[in-house]
Symmetry: C2
Subunit: 272 residues, 2 copies
């Protein structure tokens, strides 16, 4: 883990006033955003400088962990999209242990902790142990990904609502979910949707979705190795297989990259 | 407009590397978050220091505007939830004018510009004038508001998807939208939903929603004057009228404040 903090000015905590973010014996659940350190909030940047101990997920980028203060205890709890590397109970135990020892505990999750962050079990564990908690929001992957393709999640006269959902759970969807998602102009951001792409395609087509509905997949949103796949519902499973994305990917149903975003700078790869 | 920037270290741009965010002749559409300056991203904080001209909405907080560099031209374009104070065409003209003059143009919107930010007309105007654009994400009000009530937007075994929608447009909803929102466990974040509260209540009850469904309204999320109203679908219009919220409010359908969040620190007002 890189620990070079020479580029962090000591005066960061005074950026927007001298108020401390972290409290001893309290656990702060914070979002690190999708990877670009510049997408950290000032609040979380301060928390990284103040924390005594930081428990972080695998998807929190090295550049962000390098912004932690040099004295902080760093614990990699390795949770991934498809299940924890460290058992959830063990993570909860670590949080309670450190808080009971009076430490300023930072629980750092990628994206925003309130969206597909599996936050509640950890909040409940703290609550059961009478440990105080706070939540520090982060930029969620959908926001960074839609910015990368130059689009809005909502647009007047196109869609007045947007859905955030996870590919893991779409097999439990009811008919009216699919009917709604299949409508023209509907926009949805699917987290962890790579494995479910063919299933989603099948259900949407069954419910009358247009085969030419635009679908965009953004891998590693906001990171240096970000890649964008612009495709259609018809071609989604095939193009996604060809792309062989290994990193975390965000799938937009109903959105194509904006023309201006289709410049070489943004689109590293686009399968026709 | 306060312009005290004495608390901003000159070294902020070097925080995560010396790369400039802003380019001359390019318009950056940026989210300022819901109000707390600490919820700015580092990227937007840098953009405020680099911009030659900043066009900002009424809901961008004074504390955030105080973080702009002292030489920046500040233009209040006054857009609000219920329609622009400056005509949309005029805003577009200003953006193009400043970009054509080779300035680093920052278009600052509250929250996240891609969510109910009316971004597309302004992007299109820049595109038509052959002006380059970029989008800098911000923390959306729903993220800050759900953090304030100690909840997650999604939770395993409760809801695997969440909807973000605007109260303005819910009158155009189809039957299956309402049927879905009316289901137990469903969670939705309604932006600008104060005026539509009675209509929403009526439709949800008509589609079988439980009268005791929790509803939480957060006014001025993340700001010093934040207030939280915890109610039920049954009592929503009455309690909302009693609360007389004047600031921007975010309504959660299907979420109550978490027990731990019901401490006096968080709940300034809770109508029974």
């Amino acid at each position: 883990m890189p620990r070079d903090i020479s580029h962090i000015p000591a005066s960061l905590p005074s950026l927007t006033g001298a108020t401390a973010v972290m409290c001893p014996g309290v656990v702060a659940f914070a979002g690190s955003g999708p990877g670009d350190p510049d997408l950290l909030t000032l609040k979380v940047a301060k928390a990284l400088l103040e924390a005594d101990v930081i428990l972080y997920d695998r998807l929190v980028s090295d550049e962000i962990m390098a912004m932690a203060n040099g004295d902080a205890i760093l614990e990699d709890v390795g949770k991934e999209g498809f299940g924890p590397s460290m058992a959830q109970d063990d993570i909860c135990d670590r949080l309670v242990h450190h808080a009971k020892a009076g430490r300023k505990v930072l629980r750092l999750k990628s994206g925003d902790p309130t969206l597909f962050g599996r936050l509640d079990e950890e909040l409940s564990a703290c609550e059961a142990a009478d440990i105080g908690t706070q939540i520090l929001p982060g930029i969620t992957a959908a926001s960074a990904a839609v910015a990368a393709i130059g689009q809005s999640l909502t647009q007047r006269r196109r869609n007045s609502s947007v859905r955030f959902l996870t590919g893991h759970d779409m097999k439990g969807f009811a008919d009216h979910d699919w009917a709604q998602l299949a409508r023209p102009g509907e926009v949805a951001a699917v987290y962890m949707g790579k494995k479910s792409a063919r299933f989603v395609q099948g259900r949407l087509l069954m419910h009358g979705a247009d085969r030419t509905t635009p679908v965009t997949v953004v891998e590693n949103a906001s990171r240096a190795d970000q890649r964008i796949l612009a495709t259609t519902l018809d071609r989604l499973p095939t193009d996604l297989a060809d792309a062989a994305f290994a990193g975390p990917a965000l799938t937009f149903l109903g959105l194509a990259p904006r023309a201006a975003a289709a410049a070489p700078k943004h689109i590293q790869m686009e399968l026709a």
